[in-house]
Structures are given as C-alpha cells and as structure tokens.
C-alpha cells in the first residue's frame, strides 16, 4: 500500500471519519475556467467549420475564427476587435457584479444596481457638461451655468456620492428594518429609476467635457503594449481589473471578507460571535452601490450621453455573472475570481452568438437557459461534495 493511500484510509478525528484530501484540492474556480475554455473552443469550432447553416440560411464566411485573426492585412494573433468587445462588455457590468457578488456572499441580493446606474448616470452627467456645443449653448443643459465645464473630478465625486447614498439606503433598510433584501432593493430599484426620469424630465443629458469623456475613452496604459490591453478606450477594462483584484484581496485577506462569508453562511452564529451584523451589512450594500456608480461613470463617459433608461437589466446580468461564476445564492460561498470568470463566460456567449449570427431572440432564450443551468450545476456539485 502506498504511503499516500494509507494516509487517506486512516481514520482521523472522531467517529472514524476518514478524510479525502483530494476533495479540497479542486477549487470550484477551476471548473468555471474549464467551462470558459470549453465554450470558447465550441464557438471557435462553430466559426471554423462553418456550421451556421444549421440554424441560418445565410451561412457566414468559410474559414472564419472566433478568437484568432484571419485577416491577412492585420498583423496580430488574436481577433483584436472581438476581444475588445468582449472585454468592454465584461468591464462595465463586471464592475457591478463585483459588488453584487459581495452582497450575495453576505446572503442578500441586490436588484437595485441597474437603476442606481441609471440615476447616477443622469446626475453625474449633468455635472460633466460643457456650456457651449458648436458655438451654441448646450441644448441638454440640466443645471445652471455654475455646473458647466467643471473639472472631471467633480462629476466623479458626485457620482460616487450618489452610489453611496443609494447603497446606504439599501443597507440601512435591510440591516435595521429587517425587511428581506429582495423587497428593500426592489423598492430602491423602482425609486432610483424614478429619480433617473425625474432628474431631467426624461430628457437625455449629453455633451460632456473632454476631461470627462477621456475617463472611459482614454487609455491609461497608453502605448504600453502587452497584447490585449493596447487599444484606445481600454480604461473601463483597466478599472474593472483593478477593482476585481482589490476586492479579491479584500474578500480573502481582511476582516471584512471573513465576516461577509460568516454572515452569509450562518448569520445567527456571526451575531453570537459578537459581529455587528447590521453595521457590516450596511457597509457591504454601500460598497455595492458605489461600484454601481463607478459603472455608471464609465458608461456615460464612454457613450458621451446619459439616458434615464440606462442600466436596465444590468442587475440581472450582474447576478447571472455571479451565479455562473459559482457564487451560491444561499450565501457564504463564491469568490470574486469566480465572478470575473462568470462575467467572461457571459460575454463570450453573447459575443459568440453574434459571431455565428444567431438572432437576438434566440440569444436571450439561450441566455436564460444558461443561467438556470449554472444554478442547477452548482447545486448538483454542492450536494455531491457536501456529503
């Protein structure tokens, strides 16, 4: 008998329970990464072998590729354009998903993030406008002259403050009135959308200053060319990557992270241990609100306009990303890395459907099925590993 096998068969602790070391050596994130790779390969094959005729009378070009560059006049390995689109899609909703992940780990849910994006977009943009457009006064001006041509830091601070207030309302409602998070954030979702429409009587707010437009339109890494990250307008992706890394570290290595997991897995135990559960919940929801505000700032800066309907369904996409990434809706389980991978899967699927010219209707149908499938798969995996 090999020493390794002997060790595993030996009973440990009480009740003669033997312990299988292999069970733990396989973090769930690996499964999600494998899923991402499999899905990418599937789309690559569909593109390569021109399987579009299966569902489309108008087959796309033979010899296409999902991931790689096939145009001879461009000297890159990857299909830069497609990857940029995937990464940009991931970035904006992914930033929201970072906050939603923390909320779900805490055992809650946040339905308000999409509406917070809408309200924050409108308010922020009205502090980022230029006074003069092509020699005429700005036709979409919301506030007076005092709010025109302000440095970009003003709308950023205003935007983050909006997110903070909205998140704080969520947090205080949930922590101190003890109503279910679903109801509290549903209320904020509806009200915040109302704020977005009321702010400018439903009119779009446009024409930001150059400084503000450069936030998302610029490229912080500039000429720094390491493959993927060398295109103009990469800032949202950089911000997303930085925030994902930051909150990964926060969830793993700080008291904030441990207590979030603790509250999500056993709230009564957390309370008995002397953790101030209400205060911690308020903090988590506030951070989630501020992350939604960051997304709002980037999306308005990118689109150069804000509309009351911005961010509709973002909350559900963000929740879907987290769920695909292995975050358990029961709370206590999941990780930021998982959500980042989930966001990538989400975006690859949408982009992949477009690449094989599947109609948008089918895309949505399949998207829904994938979300449900991810939860079913997660539960199956858990019930298998738990006992």
């Amino acid at each position: 008998m090999a020493p390794e096998a002997k060790r595993q068969a030996a009973p440990h602790g009480v009740g003669g329970l033997s312990y299988d070391a292999r069970k733990r050596a396989w973090p769930p994130e690996i499964n999600i990464l494998i899923a991402l790779i499999v899905i990418t390969v599937i789309f690559e094959l569909l593109n390569r072998y021109n399987l579009g005729w299966l569902w489309n009378d108008d087959p796309f070009q033979r010899g296409g590729s999902f991931l790689f560059n096939v145009r001879e006049n461009v000297d890159t390995i990857f299909n830069q354009q497609r990857l940029n689109i995937i990464l940009l899609q991931v970035a904006v909703i992914g930033i929201i998903a970072i906050g939603v992940t923390q909320v779900i780990i805490l055992g809650g849910i946040d339905l308000s993030s999409g509406s917070i994006v809408g309200a924050t977009a409108m308010i922020t943009m009205s502090f980022a406008q230029t006074a003069v457009v092509n020699g005429n006064p700005n036709p979409t001006a919301v506030l007076g002259d005092w709010a025109m041509d302000l440095p970009a830091v003003v709308p950023i601070v205003v935007g983050l403050a909006c997110g903070l207030v909205a998140g704080l309302i969520n947090g205080l409602l949930i922590a101190y009135t003890r109503i279910p998070p679903f109801i509290a954030t549903l209320g904020v979702m509806v009200s915040a959308r109302g704020v977005a429409k009321w702010w400018s009587n439903g009119q779009p707010v446009s024409f930001p200053t150059e400084g503000y437009a450069a936030l998302a339109g610029g490229d912080i890494l500039g000429g720094l060319s390491f493959g993927l990250l060398s295109w103009p307008g990469q800032n949202p992706v950089v911000v997303f990557a930085a925030l994902a890394l930051l909150f990964h570290l926060v969830m793993r290595h700080t008291i904030y992270g441990t207590r979030s997991y603790a509250i999500g897995s056993n709230e009564a135990a957390a309370r008995m241990s002397g953790i101030n559960v209400a205060r911690h919940k308020t903090l988590v929801y506030t951070i989630a609100g501020m992350l939604a505000a960051v997304a709002a700032i980037l999306v308005t800066s990118k689109n150069l306009t804000a509309q009351a309907g911005m961010g509709v369904m973002y909350e559900l996409d963000a929740i879907a990303m987290a769920v695909i990434g292995g975050v358990s809706l029961a709370g206590g389980r999941g990780s930021i890395i998982g959500t980042v991978l989930g966001a990538m899967i989400f975006s690859v699927i949408i982009s992949g459907f477009t690449s094989i010219r599947l109609d948008a209707f089918y895309q949505e149908m399949v998207k829904g099925a994938i979300i449900v499938g991810a939860v079913v798969l997660d539960q199956w995996r858990q019930s298998r590993s738990a006992r």
Binding site: V14, G15, G16, R24, Y256, Y261, S265, N266, G332
Partner: protein, 256 residues
Amino acid sequence: MSDVILQTIGLTKHYGGVHALTDANFTLHRGEHVAIMGDNGAGKSTFVRQITGVEQPTAGQILFDGQEMAFSGPLDAREKGIEAVFQTLALADDLDVPSNLFLGRELYRLRLGPFSILDRRAMRAATLAALQKTGVKIPDLSNTIRNMSGGQRQCVAIARTAAFKSKMVIMDEPTAALGVQETAQVENIIRTLKAAGEPVILISHNMRQVFDLVDRIVVFRRGRIVANLAKAATTGEDVVAYITGAKTGAEYEGAA
C-alpha cells in the same frame, strides 16, 4: 482571590408576561464542574443566556470573578472570560477552522478598520495550540466546517472556548446530536478541562453523562432552581424526582 468564580443573586428574566427565570441564586467555584438539569422549558437555557450576555436580565445580579457584571452582549461576556458552546452550533459552515475560532475577534497584521488585514499564520498557530489543549484532532485546519462530521464540528466549537483566556466554559447540550463515539470524544474534552482546572457549567439531559462528569447538579423547574445536589450525595432517581416535581430541595421549599 475568592473561591467563587460565578455567583448570581436573584437573577430574573421575564419575556412580557412569561416568567422564564425567577430569583435564581447560583454559585460556581473555581475548578468545579456543575450540571444544570431540568425539563424542557425549565429555564436552563434562559439562565445561560443571561450569564453569557446574549440577553440582559430583568432583575438580579451577576458576580463574575468577584465583580458585578452587566454584559452588553455576548462579545462583552467573552472578553471578560465567559465562553459558551451553544446547543445550536455557533459556527459558520463556509469558513475554515481558524476563521471560526476567531470569528468576531480576528487577529490582524495591519489595522484598517473593517478592512484590517488578517494574520492567518498567527490564527493558525493559536488554533493548533487550542486543539492540542482540548485534545481535539482535526485532519486539516483549512477544511471548511461544512465538510466535517457532527462530532468534529462540536469539537471545533469546544476548542473555540480554549483558544482564548477563558475563566469559565458553559456547554448547552454539547452531545445532543452526536453518535456514541463522538459523544465519548466530547466527554473526553470535558475531562481534559477538569484536569486543567477550568470551571464548567454543563447543561445536559443525559443522566449517565452528568454523573460521569460533574461534581454537583443543580435542578431547574418552571423557571426556578429547586435543588442543589452534590453528586456523591444523590442518585439518578433522586434527580429525576426533583426534575419532575415529586421532590423539592429543603432550602427551596415554597419556590415552585
């Protein structure tokens, strides 16, 4: 230093009109193991909730280590040195062993408010020491509680009390949900605590266990203490008589 570690004088708790605990006078000496027995609803758990700071008593005094206490919450009681293992396991299933032991009072390397950075190495070392002290064997500390057996979970919960400089340990039915072998393991831990001179209050329905482990038995009935029996001077039948109300201790006549 007085010989008494915990004393309650006239401890009373009312939930609205329900008198869950009335006029409880209880004394625990240093190094002593005392069992609290009684039927369901007799006030045992209510009593424990008062002395662990989970609830604040309606009336009465709690003297701990010679000083009068008014606990603001469970963490306050813990900091003063009262550790409790509750009937419903106070463990977070998705955290590993050290994180559970230090839940609510994590060690940190860098203090940044709620974002203080955890000192995992120190917590792990302290966990190993606590497990050794209680004689608990856990194969892998970084395993989550979810993946452990009921006995291992209970052992972690008990080891939790040893990880800190506790002056007294309270166990609320620690073996209620355990199998034979696991119960034996937990009882061994309690004996280890006895040898270490740690005072323990054990709440249990298991007569065999009580007579095996403790020095003294206190019986609760209908929210009152009705008997205070040295183990050597009593029998199981006697204790049952007190629990069911067939008998009431001489000094408690007229109480219930």
